[in-house]
Each structure stands twice: as C-alpha cells, then as structure tokens.
C-alpha cells in the first residue's frame, strides 16, 4: 500500500505549495489594508493595530457606491448577452454546417490578437460619432465585442466534445437544432457555460482601459477606476489602496464562490453519456 500512502501525502503537499504561492503575496495586501492610513509601507509588515476604518475611508473617498453600481450594471448588460451569443455561435460552429464556417471561425478567432491598447483610440472616435461615448450601451457593446472571440472559441471547443450520437439521437426524435441545444446539450454544458460566465464577469468587472477612455465622467466609470484615487502622482496611500482593492475584489470572489458549485454539479447524468 505504499503507492496509496505516497498518493495521500503527495497531493496535499503539492496543493499546499500552490495555495501558499497564491496566499503569501495576498497576505501582504491583507496586512497592508489593516495599517493606519497613510503609513508608508514596503513589504510584509505586522499591522500597527487593526484599522478597519480604512475600508470606510476608502469607500467614501473613492465613491465606491456609484462605481460598484456601474460595474454591476455593465457586467449585467455584458455577461448574459455575451454568454448567449458565444454559446449559440460555438454550438453552430461545432455541430452544424455553417456556410463558410471555417473562415468565420478563423475570423472570430483572430479577434484574440487585436491589441486594445491602441484600437481603443479609434474606437473612442467611432463611438463618439454614434453618440455612444459616456454611455453604458457603448461600453457594454465594446466589451461584448472584445470578449466574443474567447467565448466562441471556448464554447466551440466544448460542443466539439459532445458525443455525436447524442445529437443524432435527438434529431431522429424530431428535435430541432434549437431544442437539441437547450433540452439535450445544455444540462451537460453547465460547467462550460458557468465557467465562461464567471470569466466574463471577472473580466468585465476588472476591465480598465475601455471604461477609462470610453467613459469621460469619472463617476460613471467602473470599480477599478476607484483604485486611482489612492495612487497619486507622487504619493500612494498603500493602506487605503489595499482596502480599496479588497472592496473591489469582494464581489468577484462572492460571485465565484456562488457559481463554482456548478463546475461540479453539472456532471453528466448517466443516461446522456455517449
């Protein structure tokens, strides 16, 4: 039984190393957020008392209320729409005879290599011509467009693994492609769709350059813009920045915790296995 013993030891050790590698840098952030505001800091330092009021100060100084709200509004506009579009396209490209499908797929894929750090400037002028700068729809459309290549890529890769016989069987039963997608394939696709949704949410939430350029009114920008309040030209208020960071990431972590059980619970039921 030495194999079993080794296995029982090795796995936790490796996981512990990984978790530690994630947590040690994080620890400095957590500790920093508890230091007195304005403390000049470098590196891991034991807090000088516990200053939870940093969170209150950070919240009011950066006006996180409206920022988190607009982040949420934009994520709500972007995530469902983008997930649905990507799922439909991925489904069709993987299982159907789309005219020019290969080229369309390539066309979508190449969007992965568009460098936003310069296209955002022409995008700003294009949206300005349409009267969409400084608006939620303008930003939401830009994000949906930017996220689409990954989503199609991901969902197509997923649907390509679905056993062919499953789709054939559904069709023989007279199911339309629409019914096949929602009734037959969706239940087993929950892990892939949830993963996409969570990633879209995180990216939209933390999206930075697009809101910065496309939204001119700072109060209407998204949550990460609030971090700029603590990084001035010459001074960085590290404890407040750390507290603000935790405020910004808290909703994302909650969303992740809430949805991650779907990664597990979406296991195929035996009847559907091919």
């Amino acid at each position: 039984m030495t194999v079993r013993q080794r296995r029982d030891v090795a796995a936790p050790v490796v996981l512990t190393v990984f978790v530690a590698a994630v947590l040690v840098p994080f620890l400095s952030l957590l500790l920093a957020s508890l230091q007195p505001a304005g403390t000049p800091l470098t590196g891991l330092a034991r807090p000088d008392g516990i200053h939870l009021e940093n969170f209150v100060h950070a919240w009011s100084a950066a006006g996180f209320g409206p920022l988190l709200r607009s982040s949420a509004v934009i994520a709500l506009a972007v995530v469902p729409a983008a997930v649905v579009c990507a799922t439909l396209a991925g489904y069709a490209l993987a299982t159907m005879d789309v005219p020019g499908g290969g080229k369309l797929y390539g066309y979508l894929l190449l969007g992965l290599s568009i460098p936003t750090e310069v296209t955002v400037i022409p995008l700003y002028y294009d949206l300005r011509a349409l009267g969409l700068t400084n608006t939620v729809p303008g930003l939401a459309l830009a994000e949906i467009a930017a996220f689409m290549p990954f989503g199609v890529f991901w969902m197509r890769a997923h649907f390509a693994t679905v056993p062919r016989s499953l789709i054939e069987a559904a069709r023989l039963d007279g199911a339309s492609s629409w019914t096949t997608l929602w009734r037959v394939l969706m239940p087993s696709s929950r892990p892939a769709v949830t993963t996409l949704g969570v990633l879209y949410f995180v990216w939209s939430w933390n999206q930075f350059l697009l809101p910065l350029i496309l939204i001119q009114d700072p109060a209407k920008r998204t949550a990460p813009a609030g971090l700029g309040f603590f990084t001035g030209q010459y001074n960085v208020d590290v404890p407040l920045l750390a507290a603000a960071t935790l405020i910004v990431i808290a909703p994302v972590v909650l969303v992740y915790l809430f949805f991650q059980r779907h990664f597990i619970n979406g296991v195929l039921s035996g009847a559907l296995k091919g």
Binding site: M96, L241, Y256
Partner: protein
C-alpha cells in the same frame, strides 16, 4: 444576407452533419445552413462592429501621422518604415517570445496539476476553498498586483527574506531592478495570474471525464501520476488547445502586467511590443506610428494562433 451556396465547401473544423437527408435534399440542406448562420450572427454582429471595425480603422490610421487629437495627415507607409528600423523592436520581440514560458508553459502545467488534484478531491472538505484560493490572482485588479509583487521582489521583500531564512542570503537581489532577472521576475507574476485561469478552464473540462474511468484505473492499481498522464491529460486536449492559444496570445501581446510592474525597465530589459505601442499611443502622442506597430504585432500573433489551432486540429 441571404445564404447563397458557396461553390467551395469551406473546411469545416468539426464533424459535419452526416447521414442521408430525409427529404428534398437541397432545400432542407439550404434551410439548415441558413439556420446555422443565424446562430452565428448574434456573435458576429457586435464583434464586427465594435472590435473589427475599430481595428480596421486603426490599420487605416497607421497610414497617417496622427497624435490622437488633431487632424491626421497622410504619410503612406512611412510609419511602417519607422517600425522596420526601430532598434528596440528586435529586443521587444525576443522578450515577448521568452514570456511564452511564463505565460503559457508554466501556467498550463500548474493548471493541469492543480485541476487534477482538486478534481480528485471533489466532495472532500475544503476543496471549494482551495479552488477559490487558486483562482484569486485572476480577480485582483492589476494596480494591486503591481503593488503586491513589487513588495515580494524588493530588496527587503518577501522573496529575499525567504532566501535569507533558508541560508541562501548570497542569492538575494533586487529582482525587478536586475538586468538579468527582471524579465523572469515579471514573467512569474504572469504565471501567478494566469495559472488560476488555466485551472478553471481545466476544471471545467474534468467534469466531462467519467469518474468510472478513474475508478477502473485505480482498480488496476494505477497511481496518481499514471492516472494524470494516461487519463487526465489526453482527455483535456480541447481545453488545452484553448488554454494554449489564449496564453500564447497573452504572452505575445502582453502589455498591462509589464507596464505596471517594470514599465519595460530596467533599461530595455523587459520591453515588449505592447509597451512600445502603448508608449507611442498614450505617452508619445504618435497614434499613427503606434497603429502601424499594432498592425504588425496583430499579423504576427494571428500567424501564431493559426499555427496553434492547426497543430491542435492535426493532433486530435
């Protein structure tokens, strides 16, 4: 947008509809193809309007001398001539290539191992906590990532403290300021961020894998290592193709992570094409020149994407 028949059947990536069409073959087929196109359209439309067109617009503006504010003036291919003779570009391309190790190879390896281990633990206590923790770096805004890692790498930072603690004090360095170590140091920050993404992609994939396969393997006395290589890795190939494409692109087009940690320094030792583009577009007010560089970068990355997907398709 009527669907006309294309004379040449495009190489369809996946298994296409098979079996004899039941009724009036050509009309049904045409209808089905039209429907298929309708499925793709909602993705295609916003993508074309708000990603591709601005990109084409950028390509167009690369023929101009433009500061991003005033009216551009047409200068033809001059910007491309300047890109071709840019002394920094060669180093930048080299650095971007080297980053593939840190943005792609390492995160995929770590992602695979952690996904396999986490998946095996499923149901045990603390598993969801571990999963969340490993994903955490993905959710931290980059401004904070920069601050955190500058502390890790500082002269009196966590890394040097650790080295001293285990008696390797002579190895300490000021990592981000070292001409030798800055690139790997920044690369490892990338590994830290991207590994969580890879793990999530692979975890999603492991849900497809039948637990019975593992049980059967275990009955045969397969250890975790053999299980990993002969079951998990082969079955996650689709996810690996996705992860590889995404991360290689992330490496070649890397910008924000480097911008916020070293800004390209010390000297030019961590300069990548994305940094050059950004400096020109936002710092230098040379949006036209930046656009030309962006066009070149996009072409190079596009070739890489096509190659990866070609390979992935061939192997599967």
């Amino acid at each position: 947008m009527a669907t006309t028949t294309t004379p040449r059947r495009a190489a369809r990536p996946v298994r296409k509809d098979t079996g004899p069409p039941p009724h009036s073959p050509s009309t049904t087929r045409r209808r089905r193809r039209a429907v298929a196109l309708l499925y793709v359209l909602p993705a295609l439309l916003p993508y074309t309007l708000f990603a591709v067109l601005p990109a084409l617009h950028t390509a167009y503006l690369s023929l101009f001398d433009w500061d991003g504010v005033t009216l551009p003036s047409f200068i033809g291919l001059d910007n491309y001539r300047r890109v071709a003779t840019d002394p920094q570009l060669r180093a930048a391309a080299w650095h971007a290539g080297a980053l593939i190790v840190f943005f792609s190879v390492l995160p995929i390896a770590i992602g695979l191992v952690s996904a396999a281990l986490v998946a095996r633990r499923s149901g045990r206590r603390g598993t969801s906590l571990i999963r969340t923790l490993l994903f955490l770096p993905q959710v931290v805004p980059l401004v904070a990532v920069a601050v955190i890692w500058r502390w890790v790498y500082a002269e009196n930072g966590t890394l040097n403290q650790a080295l001293r603690a285990i008696g390797l004090g002579r190895l300490t360095d000021s990592w981000l300021g070292s001409f030798t170590w800055a690139l790997p140091a920044v690369g490892l920050v990338g590994t830290w961020v991207v590994a969580g993404l890879c793990m999530v992609l692979f975890l999603s994939g492991t849900q497809r894998i039948d637990q019975e396969i593992y049980e059967a393997a275990r009955m045969d006395g397969a250890g975790p290592v053999r299980e990993f290589w002969s079951i998990t890795v082969p079955l996650l190939r689709p996810e690996m193709a996705v992860a590889l494409s995404i991360t290689v692109i992330a490496a070649l087009s890397s910008f924000d992570l480097i911008y916020i940690t070293t800004g390209g320094g010390p000297g030019n030792s961590t300069v990548v094409p994305g940094i050059l583009i950004y400096r020109l577009a936002f710092g230098g007010g040379a949006v036209g020149l930046a656009s030309a560089l962006a066009v070149v970068l996009t072409l190079v990355i596009s070739v890489a994407v096509v190659l990866i997907n070609h390979l992935a398709r061939e192997r599967s």
